[in-house]
């Protein structure tokens, strides 16, 4: 630390406030204020040293420090070494730029802190100035005028009549391939071939009687797809697809 002996005593008091910091930026701002110069003129290197010194002592005193204080310490250490490196070895953004950004952040936080303090010190309603204690109140009595059209009325009655008629449900019979039969078919075919096969090759051939029906074929494709997913999930099959919407291929899991 570059500070004198009196500063050491002050620092000791500082640690007692450890719970008082609202994060590392807050601590940095407080340290910066101790330089007793305008925030625009603070020495970033000095500030870094103070912060790192603070962290080191806090660790020596075995104070619990939140992780973000340590992360800030690591970043400041990096910033310091970068500031001390020869100029032509710098990356982008330059350490000077990073130091400026840090300075701007401190200024912004400081401005908000000052703004908050000045705001709180204003004449506040309910503390310094008062609204009328017992206002009579303004009353607006709402009168509803209801609107309804003749057609709405009649139609509403018609709807009730319709609703009260007995309803008969008819379910059309559809040709489907069930999931169970799809799983049975796909897994038995998987046992035969060791190569990758496209999903469509698992469908029953269209030449076989009812399987020429396009609706049934669509159902078979859907069920076989779900069957393939199920077999992959249970580890019995491997799935592969080269591209989106590309052919879906599967083969028996090698185990």
């Amino acid at each position: 630390m570059t500070e004198g002996a009196s500063a050491a005593a002050e620092d000791r008091a500082l640690y007692l406030e450890i719970d008082g910091w609202e994060g590392p930026l807050d601590l940095l701002l407080d340290l910066a204020r101790r330089q007793k110069v305008d925030l625009l003129r603070i020495s970033i290197l000095e500030l870094v040293d103070q912060y790192l010194g603070f962290i080191a002592q806090a660790e020596a005193l075995r104070l619990e420090l939140a992780a973000d204080y340590l992360v800030m310490a690591a970043w400041l250490a990096y910033l310091k070494s970068a500031l001390l490196l020869p100029r032509d070895e710098q990356e982008d953004p330059s350490p000077e730029e990073l130091a400026l950004r840090l300075q701007l952040r401190l200024q912004r936080l400081s401005a908000m802190r000052e703004g908050a303090a000045r705001l709180m010190a204003r004449d506040r309603l309910g503390r310094d100035v008062f609204r009328r204690g017992a206002p009579e109140g303004l009353r607006v009595d709402r009168l509803s005028r209801w609107r309804c059209e003749w057609f709405d009325l009649v139609r509403a009655y018609g709807d009730i009549k319709v609703r009260r008629q007995p309803v008969v449900h008819m379910v059309r019979e559809r040709m489907v391939m069930t999931l169970d039969s799809a799983i049975a078919r796909v897994s038995s075919l998987l046992g035969i071939s060791l190569d990758w096969m496209e999903l469509r090759e698992f469908l029953p051939p269209a030449s076989q009687g009812e399987w020429s029906n396009p609706r049934l074929r669509r159902s078979a494709l859907a069920s076989s797809f779900v069957a393939a997913l199920e077999l992959a999930r249970t580890g019995k099959a491997e799935l592969a697809q080269e591209e989106t919407f590309g052919p879906l291929r599967l083969k028996a899991a090698t185990r």
Binding site: V140, C148, Y157, D159
Partner: protein, 201 residues
């Protein structure tokens, strides 16, 4: 400006502010105690005179002082606003049932609609002036029965309830066709779905 000529002194201002902020009327003693024991009678006088011509008056009632709105302006504090509101679907249905079946009890309305009818729905119809209580049915429990009003006929431009279309006419007009968007909607969302438009039902 001449109004600025006679600015009140600080005591008058303090009494003015104290009474303004007070949550209840205050006696002169209480005001004085609030202001470190200064005599306030003169200030109260001055304020009362000042406010005599304004929209608010400083008045004393039973030894307690407070500000209140000038009595000639009291009607300003209450204002009526009329809003035109569309009758909810449920209320429209109940109204239709009353019109087609009057006089009808609430239990009968519910039986016809097949849905419970909140008390509020009938209240709305009575507030609208279209439905009235028409006595009680002389059956056990003596339920209240409802009927339409002359206002109802006037609003819908009907000479009498007989002018409402019959079921056959409705069917002819397609109003009873089973496949009906509204009805599908009703089946999907359930009765309560439509209540969202401000229906208490």
């Amino acid at each position: 400006m001449s109004a600025m000529a006679e600015a009140p002194d600080d005591l008058v201002r303090a009494v003015e502010a104290t009474l303004f902020a007070a949550e209840a009327p205050m006696t002169a003693e209480a005001i004085s105690a609030h202001l470190n024991g200064i005599a306030v009678a003169a200030a109260l006088d001055e304020l009362q005179t000042h406010y005599a011509s304004r929209g608010i008056h400083l008045v004393e009632r039973g030894g307690r002082w407070h500000f209140e709105t000038a009595s000639d302006l009291a009607q300003l504090l209450r204002r009526e606003r009329e809003e035109v509101r569309r009758l909810s679907r449920a209320a429209t249905e109940v109204l239709a049932i009353v019109a087609y079946h009057e006089p009808v009890s609430r239990a009968e309305i519910e039986a016809i609609r097949g849905v419970q009818t909140a008390k509020g729905t009938l209240d709305v119809l009575m507030e609208a002036g279209w439905v009235r209580v028409a006595g009680r049915r002389e059956v056990p429990g003596r339920p209240v029965i409802y009927a339409t009003t002359p206002d109802f006929l006037a609003h819908f431009g009907l000479a009498s309830l007989r002018e409402l279309p019959g079921v056959d006419e409705m069917r002819a007009a397609g109003l009873l066709d089973p496949v009906d968007d509204d009805m599908i909607q009703m089946v999907i969302t359930g009765e309560s779905g439509r209540a969202a438009d401000g229906d208490p039902d």
